[in-house]
């Protein structure tokens, strides 16, 4: 029987697109002692990718493994950063240049991270942190790929996942995501809104880090529709959904007009905001948490976080990308790894 010597959370970090800023922001983050000490790191990306970006003083703390070795290792040594090579070679990657090879490698890293997570015992605290991928690039070699969230949802056979944006000022969950504004109203019904609130209520501790956060649910229309004068979704859909959810958890308020709820959230009267659509939640969120914002996926069986930015090909490999958002993603993953 394998023994697990440390109760530190296992943080599986995926490189993302190896031609993007992933490798350097991961290196920048784990080079900091206050980050490296947060967990036992297993970085999925491999020797070849990281050799060029790892600061020399960090290199001595790295141990390299093949995926097969990592899967049979049972435990990882505390105090080391474990670097795992996926089963696909990165080939010749040039920073800043998207390529099919880079996308194939990024996808292999995701596959490897899922295998690693599944190989860990259920009671070991664990989380996945993903660096950005080129969605279009992966979709062109693996049709149907929509993004990390959907990939993991399928890989972990999750019935329903919730995407939360967690920052220093706000925590926001959009009920609908990447759909046109003209489709938002008809994408909402009582069941959809209820399920979203229910899942947020269930994961409230993971999202907020608090036992009893106050959840504020946005209305859809200006001024919450002014009693049906400017749209009736608040009356027909959102209020009934909140009433049902209140039977599960009592600290849910709403519907609250979007131009009020974020002000209340800034004053900490509301701790988690559920928005009805993408920009309703993300415009306020990114305004105040652009640099510290972390994307968190819930419902996978383990927490997954990611920095809230893209591959940034234009600056990749130049050593100028800030690792701050990656550090925030790692901190949040480590803090919530026990919560699952």
């Amino acid at each position: 029987m394998l023994s697990y010597r440390t109760n530190k959370p296992r943080i599986i970090v995926t490189t993302g697109d190896p031609a993007g800023i992933g490798p350097e922001i991961i290196s920048g983050a784990i080079a900091k002692d206050e980050i490296a000490s947060l967990g036992l790191f297993i970085v999925v990306g491999g020797k070849k990718i990281f050799e060029s970006v790892l600061p020399s003083r960090v290199q001595k703390n790295i141990s390299f493994h093949t995926l097969q070795e990592a899967l049979t290792l049972g435990d990882f040594r505390d105090g080391m950063i474990h670097m795992v090579d996926p089963e696909v070679s990165p080939g010749d990657i040039t920073f800043g240049k998207p390529s099919a090879e880079a996308s194939r490698f990024a996808l292999a890293c995701l596959e490897a991270s899922v295998k690693l997570i599944k190989a860990l015992p259920a009671d070991v605290p664990k989380a996945i942190v993903t660096a950005p991928v080129n969605k279009g690039g992966i979709a062109s070699i693996s049709p149907g790929f929509k993004g990390h969230t959907e990939y993991f949802q399928e890989a972990f056979a999750s019935e329903m996942i919730t995407m939360a944006l967690v920052g220093r000022h706000l925590s926001v969950i959009p009920v609908t995501r990447h759909i046109p504004i003209c489709s938002v109203a008809r994408a909402l019904n009582e069941e959809v809104v209820f399920k979203a609130i229910k899942q947020v209520a269930e994961y409230r501790r993971v999202i907020s880090g608090m036992d009893e956060p106050v959840i504020g649910v946005c209305g859809l229309n200006p001024h919450c529709g002014e009693n049906g004068k400017i749209g009736d979704e608040e009356i027909k859909i959102i209020k009934p959904a909140i009433d049902r959810a209140l039977k599960i958890y009592s600290k849910i308020k709403g519907p609250i007009p979007a131009d009020t709820v974020f002000y209340q959230a800034m004053k900490k009267e509301i701790n988690i905001v559920i928005a009805m659509y993408h920009d309703q939640g993300l415009a306020p969120f990114k305004m105040v948490d652009f640099d510290s914002g972390v994307n968190m996926t819930l419902g996978l069986g383990c927490v997954r976080t990611s920095p809230d930015h893209g591959t940034a090909y234009d600056i990749a490999g130049k050593g100028i990308a800030s690792s701050r958002s990656m550090e925030e993603a790692i901190k949040l993953a480590a803090d919530r790894a026990h919560a699952g």
Copy 2:
């Protein structure tokens, strides 16, 4: 010929609903020397309403007039607050109690303010500051009343007006206002968006206080539609409208995703944000400028500002309402009164 002895801006302040917090926030604001010194104040609301709320040390600086006196006065004495009685008696007003009498009086104050503004020579700097009214209450005695903005638009025969929200952090103009989310997309067309941008460009100095502010125009859909994948209004409507407006004024950027433009605005890379709909602009605005936010109407021939809150019947007459938002409205009105 009448002579106008001071070039200080004439600030016409309307009481709003006399049973709301209007009288006390006006009194609180003009009791402060730094506010009273900003212009020559003509408060339309009358003796009976203000007697109970004016601090005694201010009372000696007040001169009371009937509307007829005020209209024939020609000039007002500098250093005094001029209080004008509209032609309708306030009757028995009880603070905190909406009534037809109160609404009739509030409407009479608006009518009087229009007469006063029209009686002032064109070259005298002037502005209107309005305290909140009970829209429903006025509509029930004057059918068709929708709010200050529409009232003044008709009274001044303005072809097109723009509502701007001006705060310490942000200046935001929504292209569409109080309509349901399901109607937003079809309310937009190139002409509507172009006219909104054009008017903002023309009034850019009044809105921003800067000569050459950068105007940022929001997209409608998440991520600006990702090249048509999540809605095509950016391609078909917003971009063509911006291109036309760029011929009038060059510092217009967009379409910019809503989850980026407000972050840029907070960093002062964008000085004025044009939002496509109410919550897209107002949720971020009120989050950071709830207390200092001022509503500004442009296109009337003179600037009109108002605090960004309602009648607050629940606290009216108790002396606990904060006059801060009214002070901000007066400051902005005084500062932009020369700009028209």
